[in-house]
Subunit: 191 residues, 6 copies
């Protein structure tokens, strides 16, 4: 690696040609859709088995039909990743949130202090519970379920709130330990 290009991970980053076919194909597909390869794909491809499980889990949660909108799912990611000080996820999912919500301000608002963001009371309740799952899941109780049901979430939606938060608890820790670097493209997307 040249001195001029910052590393995208502390760990070795494989060449596309050295990857198993299915992993490479997933990456190529993303590149074709997005115009670039988000670094999380390259950094995690260092371990193909974990790569497969990671993205299968991600897709199961983020692409699943259900009561939470795509934008609401990304709000959960941005709010909890900010609490976990995960630079990669705040920057990358901030971009995705701007696009999903068609709102150039929301991601920065939520990353800084979600209590002051331009969101609905329902979304505020979702983020309150997501942050509790993030910080003190051992204290989650019936009251939290009731608070979300009061805003029209059913139990499957609440599972999604918890599972998205839990999945990014994993993701944030991997990004922080590997020093995963956000692609420059993300910073300006959707603004």
């Amino acid at each position: 690696m040249s001195d001029d290009v910052p590393a995208i991970s502390r760990f070795p980053v494989p060449e596309l040609d050295d990857l198993p076919d299915d992993v490479r194909e997933r990456i190529v597909a993303v590149q074709e859709k997005s115009g670039f390869v988000p670094n999380v794909f390259l950094a995690l491809a260092h371990r193909p088995d974990e790569f497969r499980a990671f993205f299968a889990y991600h897709d199961a949660l983020m692409d699943r039909p259900g009561g939470l909108s795509k934008a609401e799912r990304e709000m959960i990611v941005v709010a909890t990743s900010s609490r976990n000080q995960c630079q990669y996820c705040v920057v990358a999912h901030g971009a995705i949130l701007r696009i999903r919500a068609k709102n150039p301000l929301l991601a920065d608002q939520i990353a800084a202090n979600y209590r002051k963001a331009d969101i609905t009371p329902r979304q505020r309740a979702i983020l309150d519970v997501a942050l509790k799952v993030c910080d003190a899941a051992y204290e989650v109780n019936d009251d939290d379920f009731a608070a979300l049901r009061a805003h029209g979430l059913d139990d499957e939606d609440i599972w999604d709130v918890a599972a998205i938060t839990a999945f990014f608890a994993l993701s944030n820790r991997m990004a922080n330990v590997t020093d995963m670097r956000p692609n420059e493209e993300f910073y300006s997307l959707g603004r």
Copy 2:
């Protein structure tokens, strides 16, 4: 469910016969090997796609060859799950640790205060970093890598320390939010 049997999850628990074949087969295989079905399999089977990703991830980390022994991997699980107050994982993986380490005391020692456990200096260093990944991954830095290398871990082993901790950050949150109940069998296994 009769009133006499405590629920194993807040969420619906599927009947084996209603599950997709691959999920059911995985569960049956565990049952044949262990003599019972750990409740995490039943609770997570509520969502087969997530079930598949969860156990694929689990196996990729816990069964992978590498420098960490099986017992050391379970030590990480028990120590970080205790910090996260995850009853299911402390009890279930406590049992697995007793078996893997052939030591009836170690799991209870680590769950209560790993700094006082009968472990080697290498294992103490591993758990120190695991707890940092658990609590403050955003502060992990070169010093943590150096501390583990000084005990003979290579970078792949350090990835394992981080990834096992990160995976159980997910698992602990799901278990706490779903009120997942440890099987009674776990409490006495390996004592």
Copy 3:
């Protein structure tokens, strides 16, 4: 001390024959009743005056008649000692709780996350207040008293909740600083 036997304390542990009569007699009585000498007796016998005060205080709280059952008193000990990461008290009083409650699961449940334990609403309220006394006694107020009275505790019972928690705040700190080691017998008692 041989290399093979782990120390039970960082500090000198007296021989029984070197102890004042009353201290030795108390220890012998415990040994006769329990079949072994819990290490707390040997570790604290290093300072006979403190030994006498410690066990006098202990007995005044744990053997006193009153509204709290013996099992409930041990629940307070296990829950707060777990919060204080006191290996000795979690292991030793976990054993006593199993015996007092005639329940082999309860101690491990409470040590991991008392909010998920098989306890009554009254016991949950007792542990909520005990943990508050443990962590933030300066915030205890009328609402905490009211919460316990609502479950039938009178003010003497509430004093007991607070005083047992306070006494083990002392005990946990001494055990942690002295590296007090739980006897192996405790791990399997009552299972």
Copy 4:
């Protein structure tokens, strides 16, 4: 105020014409220079005496000659305002940092996790001390001064690190309590 325009403060926001001349002139000057009036000027103009002291203090610290560059001063603001979850200051000073540092990425990097930002070791040391002043000024000691001197800061520069952090400790609290809303212009400036 129409329903369509979000409030910029919980408190009354004065009309420019109703302000004392010096306050109005300051605001007009900013508007001419920036092309818009940052909301902090309008929100704080509710109290002209505090307005005058606030901006006199601000200018004394941010415009003062000294060893810290303008960009470094803004880094301190963004890093500590992010810790204090101050949406206004993260967004507004993030914009100023992008401009001062001629770097479109830096503000988002620092807001998310300054330890992963593209900054020099000297800047990292400055932010480490700034965060300590932000969170635990009572523990600041000779070691912190030595750490900064090792990077070439003299004592006046260290005063600046502390005083900028301290001033925004004030500013962040006022912005959070008043629900001060960042101008939309800030989000895209300097990207």
Copy 5:
């Protein structure tokens, strides 16, 4: 400086004769009124521009007419400065509080635990919000405003609660970083 006199600041303390006239005159006026020069004046005179802004801000908040009594303003200072472990402000404003409240006990009570102090329910509510602004201003919300209005505060009074707390968030950090030493006179004043 002789070895016998403790320094009042880590930073250079100017001679009165070397100060700008307005700064010196302010200090002389205080000395004539109080009989001594509180060290905060000397320590901050190291930077005259900041000195002027600091005391202008202080006076704007502490001398302003409004619903909060002078004693109540000092209660906020003592309670929040104690939380911030600011020796200078606890000692100096403790003295001022004793004088303003004509009560020799109140300052020590509030510094140790304001929840046990001899204050009115209104004052308790004020200090509860002040501590929240001190520790977690990002969570302040409508409920906090309602709690204070219920005790007769209007919005201007609530601004004062917040702004006094915010100003001393600044002051406490400067005093801690500069090792500002309280004058001995303060310890016994008003007892």
Copy 6:
């Protein structure tokens, strides 16, 4: 109790005549020596057995010969009681510290921020370890013992540091839960 006299405890306070002889005699002896009865004696006399154990423990630690001076023991009490926000112990033992150290300033300095107090490096090291025992005894380790030995403490002295801190961990919690009120005499003693 008349409305004019504040209660000294939430719990019943016995009349001297109703107490067992030994308890009454202890109280009378204190009164003859001090000129008043510190309220801790009256509040704890509600439970004579606990009273006896409490004061036996107290005397065993505070009156024991050893390497720690009486003033150093009181420093530990004041510093850790301040951390625990125990108004009774900060005020009462602050007075005793002023007398033992023949220094009217030290108690207030230590209560506010012991790192800024006029104490020796040895005393600073003692208080650093005491605060660690107070807050995180589970992390105390060889380094803490080494730090104190470097200042001439032997292991018996270190036991005293820990045991005094541990005893007041108990005492602070009882005082906070019982709303124990400091006698007015303490506020001015030794100034």
